[in-house]
């Protein structure tokens, strides 16, 4: 279970509070206007931003003091999810061993992960030779290899068209099921949210409110969400 315990993120005029929990394996969406702090909340969970006060816990363990790489977290950023100078096999291999010393068994796992996301045989390609959808699949394949308990998506598929985005979200769902990961996804698109997330957090006016069932939330949106949806 992920616990945001009286979490407070503050910098200059910006401020965001959150105080709720999410169980392992759940699919959660964050929705709200730009600048409200959806990405900042993900960055705090991933360890790139230190909270002003409050705690972030996973299964009761405080994550404070853990470096981003040693948290039970995989994060997909908006872009730059792959190193352009490394081959796909190397990019995926980083998920198994950050210093890229890979055993034969590791290499087989990499090949299997590539095949799993439909990129079989592309291990020697560099990211520059991939389409946007293929790059997203490669990043998901690495998430599969890392098999961390929390998968954070900071709109990694925002540049893709709606059909491709739906396809990628389906793949995210499969990866999450296979690894049993809690997925927290930032989104601007209500349809993506309704198609993917069991519960949804509205991030607006300095608060990431407690998650509510997505269907019920959209059936009777609270004022901040109404303002956002227009």
């Amino acid at each position: 279970m992920l616990t945001l315990d009286k979490l407070d993120l503050r910098r200059g005029a910006f401020g965001l509070t959150a105080n709720w929990t999410a169980p392992a394996g759940e699919r959660l969406a964050l929705i709200g206007p730009s600048g409200a702090g959806k990405s900042t909340l993900l960055m705090a969970i991933a360890g790139f931003v230190t909270p002003t006060s409050g705690r972030i816990l996973w299964q009761g363990q405080d994550l404070a003091g853990l470096s981003p790489g040693s948290r039970p977290v995989t994060i997909l950023f908006q872009d730059q999810n792959l190193f352009p100078h490394l081959s796909l096999a190397q990019n995926l291999g980083l998920g198994l061993s950050p210093d890229l010393r890979l055993s034969r068994a590791d290499r087989q796992k990499v090949d299997a992960a590539l095949a799993r996301v439909g990129l079989a045989g592309m291990d020697k390609r560099k990211p520059g030779a991939l389409s946007g959808g293929q790059a997203g699949r490669a990043a998901l394949a690495r998430a599969l290899l890392r098999a961390r308990s929390i998968l954070l998506l900071d709109e990694p598929f925002a540049a893709l068209g709606p059909a491709l985005r739906a396809e990628m979200l389906a793949l995210v769902g499969e990866v999450a099921t296979e690894t049993g990961a809690l997925v927290i996804m930032v989104s601007h698109d209500p349809r993506d949210v309704q198609g993917f997330a069991e519960r949804t957090v509205v991030v607006a006016d300095g608060v990431a409110s407690a998650p509510q069932e997505t269907a019920r939330l959209f059936a009777d949106p609270p004022q901040p969400l109404q303002d956002y949806l227009g």
């Binding site: 470096s67 981003p68 730059q80 190193f83 100078h85 980083l94 950050p98 210093d99 990211p127 520059g128």
Partner: protein, 524 residues
């Protein structure tokens, strides 16, 4: 909330950047403090010393003014004309920066010397000959060495004027004169002071040019006097006083330059030109641009050809010791390049990570600009005196050359290092890629191109150095520039030219080899 520092070197290496900065500060400021203490301030400097200060400032100012004034029409001509060999010419403009000073001097002597074509022409026209020695010679050599540098700086600024502005000007039917006033004049006003100061600073520490073309009571730089005081008069306290004075001069100018950019090094001006040639004015301006380019090619090309012309016959009969001197030079250059690149990378990565104290690190990286080869050399001479300095000649040369090249390499590495950190530090952090693995997997491959270029630059600069080596060297530690200058001093000009040819060939070969290491596109 506070953003976490994106890149941290491993635990054991965390203090390395600070240590590097401390060593540099100790070398530069330590030398200065030691000299100041030893030299007991400015008392006891004679009129000839002050004459040298005046000469140093005069020649540096004249060199900078002439270089910048000539660079304006040349950069403009290169900006708005396309012609066969344009890219080659712009690439060639990068060469004098790494050209051994002595080679440039030999080439200029061949063209402008007493028996050179210029004076032969003047005599044929019954005009009085010009001398290449003294103030005009020193300025001539400095313009030869720095005009290309200033031109590339200006050319880059010209290319940074947005093309839309030229289109807007054309749509408002501005003529060439109005375009120059509204588009080019503001850019020049912004860029020229920095270019002037950069050339001024480089000429302020001129030693090899003053040694060969200057000299005497009326044309000695402070650097030259330091050398003479140490080498011939064995007057340590006078050398120390002069070195302290030189440090003061350079430090003052460095404070002024600190804010000015050195945007000259990498790929500057290659390729890009005025995007729409319809804006390039025709008529007499076209002829004028052609003439400017032709004259620049002659001025910069002829002396180099002369070195080849004079040097080739002597190649068959190279003086004794050339091979050993060449070997020493190459080893010194490689060691110096390796050291300089390591120091620059360590500091640049730490500065790019914006960890605690990154501003101090940045200042430490710029400190060597406030010193000179002879200032550092004198300081190290005083420090190593108990242990027979001439046996330390080569290690000291490696160290001093690496430290003096450091500011240029940091300016070269820092922007790409910042880009890599901005683009990939988060991804690296999220994957647990830190310390040595981050260096190997992320930073070294992504910085491969500037690292290779910087190594080539440092190697070539060290290869051509005739500064600190002259202070320390004996017969046993002779390098190629030193050998060539001794041959020149003995008026064996053909042998000197042959050695110079070997020197310049090795310098450029070393530069090209190292630079080629970064040529591969790592993302392809």
């Amino acid at each position: 909330m506070t953003p976490t520092s994106p890149f941290s070197v491993g635990q054991g290496l965390r203090f390395l950047p600070g240590l590097v900065a401390l060593v540099i500060a100790a070398l530069t400021l330590g030398s200065a403090a030691m000299l100041w203490g030893r030299g007991t301030g400015l008392t006891g400097l004679g009129p000839s010393d002050w004459a040298a200060v005046r000469f140093t400032l005069t020649q540096a100012a004249l060199s900078a003014v002439v270089s910048c004034l000539l660079a304006v029409p040349l950069a403009r001509a290169l900006f708005r004309r396309r012609f066969y060999g344009r890219n080659a010419l712009i690439a060639l403009l990068g060469a004098p920066f790494v050209l051994p000073v002595l080679v440039a001097v030999l080439g200029l002597l061949a063209i402008f010397g007493r028996a050179g074509p210029v004076n032969l022409g003047l005599t044929a026209l019954n005009l009085p000959p010009v001398s290449i020695f003294g103030l005009q010679g020193v300025v001539l050599a400095h313009v030869f060495l720095n005009l290309p540098f200033a031109t590339r700086m200006l050319l880059m600024s010209w290319q940074e004027i947005p093309a839309e502005r030229f289109r807007l000007a054309a749509s408002l039917s501005m003529g060439p004169r109005a375009m120059a006033w509204h588009l080019e004049r503001p850019m020049l006003v912004r860029v020229l002071p920095g270019a002037f100061l950069a050339v001024f600073l480089i000429c302020l520490t001129s030693f090899a040019v003053a040694l060969t073309l200057g000299g005497g009571p009326r044309a000695s730089t402070v650097e030259l006097l330091i050398y003479q005081a140490l080498r011939f008069e064995f007057d340590l306290s006078r050398a120390a006083k002069l070195a302290g004075l030189q440090f003061g001069l350079c430090a003052a100018v460095t404070l002024l330059v600190a804010r000015a950019a050195f945007p000259f090094l990498h790929d500057a001006g290659r390729g890009a030109a005025l995007t729409d040639l319809a804006f390039a004015p025709e008529g007499w301006r076209r002829l004028g641009d052609g003439a400017v380019i032709a004259m620049a090619v002659l001025f910069l090309g002829l002396p180099l050809l002369a070195v080849i012309w004079r040097g080739v016959p002597g190649l068959a009969d190279l003086p004794q010791g050339t091979t050993l001197a060449a070997l020493r030079s190459v080893l010194v250059a490689l060691a110096s390049a390796g050291l300089c690149v390591t120091l620059a990378l360590t500091l640049s990565l730490a500065i790019a990570a914006r960890g605690p104290g990154h501003r101090l690190l940045e200042i430490a990286g710029m400190l060597p600009l406030a010193t000179s080869a002879l200032v550092l050399g004198t300081g190290l001479f005083l420090m190593t005196r108990p242990w027979a300095p001439d046996s330390l000649a080569l290690p000291v040369t490696v160290l001093v050359n690496a430290v003096l090249t450091l500011p240029f390499l940091i300016r070269l590495l820092l922007p790409p290092a910042r880009r890599v950190t901005a683009d990939y530090a988060r991804l690296a952090g999220s994957l647990g890629l830190t310390g040595g693995a981050a260096l190997r997997v992320l930073y070294l491959p992504r910085l491969r191109r500037p690292l290779a270029f910087g190594a080539g630059l440092a190697a070539a600069l060290s290869m051509g150095d005739l500064g600190v080596i002259a202070l320390f060297a004996s017969e046993r530690t002779q390098t190629l520039p030193l050998l060539a200058s001794r041959l020149m001093g003995a008026y064996q000009m053909q042998a000197a030219a042959a050695v110079a040819l070997v020197l310049v060939a090795l310098s450029f070969a070393l530069f090209a080899l190292l630079d080629a290491l970064g040529a591969r596109d790592v993302d392809a």
